[in-house]
């Protein structure tokens, strides 16, 4: 009964190893701090014609927000780095996110739009999930790199030029933040639709 058969696996099989669950929840904490303090920093010199409501920002004033942002960045950066290294080293990234092809993706997107896409088996990611998770990994890397340019534009000349200079990096950083929020919104909705995925992220099964 209890013989593991690869993908299909038994009920008690671990879906998310401990390192993944830890980095997931630490990342949530880091992202919360980074985004809310980042909004406060944005408000000091808005790029667009709006401000974030002060009540939902962190830090109380620009100096406080900067302190939070430049403290939480270490957690966001190193937790994210550990997650990526473990993902590659353990082979999980290949197991879970490979293959990703355009035809399969289009088929899955069309199925999703018709409400017919299977996403209730947490052992297996469909093409849309694969794309979403790979995208958010990429987005996190962009957030860190553009953040480094904003933090130390003189000290990282290559990164600065790659991102189009200091002023462009501000927009890149903002859009990467907005993309992350877009992912989070979709992610939370999907978890609400399939609540057992939340259990899996808490207890591993």
């Amino acid at each position: 009964m209890n013989v593991s058969t690869g993908e299909a696996g038994s009920r008690s099989e671990i879906i998310h190893p401990l390192w993944l669950r830890l980095t997931h929840w630490l990342n949530l904490l880091a992202v919360l701090m980074m985004v809310t303090s980042g909004w406060r920093i944005y408000n000091a010199s808005p790029l667009f014609d709006f401000n974030f409501p002060a009540e939902i920002t962190l830090g109380g004033w620009l100096g406080g927000a900067l302190q939070w942002h430049f403290a939480a960045m270490w957690l966001f950066g190193f937790n994210g780095l550990f997650y990526l290294v473990m993902n590659v080293a353990s082979g999980r990234i290949k197991r879970k996110f490979w293959p990703l092809n355009l035809r399969g993706l289009l088929a899955d997107i069309s199925a999703a739009l018709r409400g017919k896409l299977q996403h209730s088996d947490p052992h297996h990611y469909n093409m849309v999930q694969r794309l979403a998770y790979l995208f958010v990994m990429f987005d996190g890397v962009i957030l860190v790199l553009s953040g480094l340019v904003l933090w130390k534009s003189v000290q990282f000349p290559l990164l600065r030029e790659l991102l189009g200079g200091y002023e462009t990096a501000r927009y890149v950083h903002f859009l990467a933040m907005a993309s992350l929020l877009g992912f989070v919104l979709l992610h939370v909705v999907m978890v609400a639709v399939v609540p057992k995925t939340l259990l899996a992220m808490l207890r591993g099964r």
């Binding site: 100096g63 406080g64 302190q67 430049f70 403290a71 200091y166």
Partner: protein
């Protein structure tokens, strides 16, 4: 203790406490100040601040954030490239008008008399005589078109001219192994920098802006210009330069801005 106060009251009860407090205090006030008090009112945010449980106001959190900021100072000191130059731009890239920025409005810009002006030197320096403006103008000058990055996020490109600070420090026999250089200014601003940045080739005692004598709003008669640091590290209207090993802090830095403030 403080945390408990918050959890004892539900939001509705908190509002009751606020209302009761407003009523009690209002009774004690003169009618004119009562009107003002009621207009401004007690707010829930104000009560949260009184209970001290806003997470940013928590003393332990503040201490932790300050120590990370100190750690970030050391990281920046390590990252700082003594010969790594900030990008320079053509004059056509200069931002016009270049923004005025200070901890006060333009109406409070100090009016320094050029004739009476003396730059005073203090601390670990061999030659402590003070400098008049013509003496500073007579030194060899260079200029740069660089990006000024404000801690608020915006940036602007300007052209500054003046004396390389490293040349000046060597000329006055400053102890180049000292840790800090502090600046005291005519607008009561003060700040300090590390020796590595002081000796950076793009760090200038700026005497001109865009080819003209430095105007009052940009720091007449002299400011320190460092394209490797954020705007608040670039003091204007400098009166005293001191070389020291005692941490001098700064106007904004003492309130929580990161001390190194590099870019």
């Amino acid at each position: 203790m403080k945390k408990m106060i918050r959890t004892i009251f539900s939001p509705a009860e908190t509002q009751d406490v606020v209302n009761e407090a407003q009523r009690l205090i209002a009774r004690q006030l003169e009618s004119s100040s009562r009107r003002r008090f009621l207009r401004q009112g007690l707010t829930l945010g104000g009560v949260a601040m009184l209970t001290g449980c806003d997470i940013s106001d928590n003393a332990g959190v503040e201490k932790a954030l300050n120590s990370v900021s100190g750690f970030n100072d050391r990281v920046q000191h390590w990252l700082f490239g003594s010969d790594r130059l900030a990008p320079e731009y053509p004059e056509s890239a200069i931002t016009r008008p270049f923004p005025f920025n200070a901890f006060y409005g333009e109406e409070d810009i100090p009016q320094v008399s050029g004739e009476d002006y003396r730059l005073n030197i203090a601390g670990k320096v061999l030659d402590k005589r003070s400098w008049s403006l013509p003496e500073l103008y007579n030194m060899a000058q260079v200029s740069q078109v660089t990006r000024h990055i404000c801690v608020e996020g915006w940036s602007a490109i300007g052209k500054w001219g003046g004396v390389p600070f490293a040349d000046f420090l060597r000329l006055i026999g400053a102890d180049l192994s000292a840790q800090y250089i502090s600046f005291k200014c005519a607008d009561d601003y003060y700040t300090s920098i590390d020796m590595k940045t002081a000796l950076h080739p793009q760090t200038l005692l700026a005497l001109t802006y865009d080819g003209q004598i430095l105007p009052p709003k940009y720091g007449y008669p002299m400011k320190l210009r460092m394209p490797t640091k954020l705007g608040y590290k670039n003091p204007k209207h400098i009166q005293v330069i001191e070389v020291t090993n005692t941490f001098p802090g700064g106007y904004w830095e003492d309130q929580g801005y990161n001390w190194f403030g590099g870019s």
